[in-house]
Amino acid sequence: MLLRRDLSRIRGMVDLSRTGLSGLRREGEAFFLGATTTFSEAARALRTCGAAPALSRALGIAAATPLRNRITVGGSIASFPLWSDLMGPLLALGSSVHLRGRVAKTVPLEDYVTTPDLRKGTLVTGCSFFDRPWRVWYHREVRVRFDYPAFTLTLLALVEEECVKELRAVLVGCRNRFSRMTEIEEALRGFPLGTELPGGLGRRFDVAFSERPHGSAAYLREIAGVWVERGLSALLGNGKDS
């Protein structure tokens, strides 16, 4: 995005890639991803240690190879483009953002993206999250594989004794940029695996889209519902689409 601006009047630049804010590290039970870690580096590091498979998968298929080698976690959090493959999994994991500058503290990612004041005069130094034994399902709605996604869907399910203990469902790319589908999460709390999913889940969440090159707002809403049902079916394994 910076590349598209007129920088002819600037007097100097700070190259953040040389600030040492790169890499994945473990801090107790949490994982910390440095702001200048590229998508490729993050996907590789997460895969190596078997952490956050939804995030690892999403970053590994985002954009295209040369861009994954360049796009950073911090830049993507700060700019949060509609087509982000990073934000869905991060929001679903309940991540926190580490800030320096005018506001020097760690805040929930959800607060960071919904509170403009937190983004003024601050530098994202990284993000952290706790990993749990989630069942994961991730979908990017694209016309062709190298396309920007119209939206992404992240579903995480924590299963105990063959029942859904906790479900997290996040859609990124809607009119409000992202939506936590709490209606779905609550409807399926305690759901016993292997049984028939309740009907009409694809219509049971409140998400609005804008008109996009990928399709009309109505089309995107309809197709999002279809993918939510397919994803839940695959994730909770009642057999139909898994």
């Binding site: 910076l2 601006r5 100097g12 190259d15 954009a63 190879t65 040369p66 594989r145």
Partner: protein
């Protein structure tokens, strides 16, 4: 501003605007095998290896590439001593208009460095940032498989001359 660049093992001191992209600085200084395509990071024609990592030079500020090793397709080999990847593109007929070829060659080189024996899926993923306007993808994928075989066999080009991996 001025900066020192290392391109294909050679050092150069170049003057450029602070907001200039690496693509612009390379081409303004005669490194024209790096092609200018979309300038938006979609087509991969301007691909280079920055410290061995495949990037679109149109998406890199030149200032961030100073003092770092930049490799273009010319740095992998030349007419007299082509790399296995370059020779494989020739032998597989994977060059039509040729505009995407420098980027395709570099993407293939980067892929094979990481995955010496890539699957079809890995080939598609490794080259997903490079577009061929002639749509010659079948032969390009064939060239990647041929290069993979040759590199694993010790870098033999299969043609008349010797070549590096």
């Amino acid at each position: 501003m001025q900066g020192r660049f290392r391109v294909n093992g050679k050092e150069a001191l170049w003057t450029f605007e602070a907001g200039a992209t690496l693509l612009d600085v390379l081409r303004e200084n005669g490194v024209t095998e790096v092609k200018e395509g979309c300038r938006e990071g979609h087509c991969g024609c301007c691909a280079v290896l920055l410290e061995g990592v495949l990037v679109d030079s149109c998406q890199v500020f030149a200032a961030t590439a100073m003092e770092r090793e930049i490799t273009t397709s010319r740095g992998l080999g030349d007419l007299r001593a082509p790399s296995a990847v370059q020779q494989s593109f020739v032998d597989a007929g994977a060059v039509q208009c040729g505009f995407c070829t420098p980027g395709m060659v570099l993407a293939t080189h980067a892929l094979l460095e990481e995955r010496p024996e890539p699957t079809e899926e890995e080939i598609a993923a490794g080259l997903d940032g490079n577009l061929c306007r002639c749509t010659g993808y079948v032969k390009i994928a064939e060239a990647v498989r041929l290069a993979s075989e040759r590199r694993r066999a010790g870098g033999n080009c299969g043609g008349g001359g010797g070549c590096g991996a």
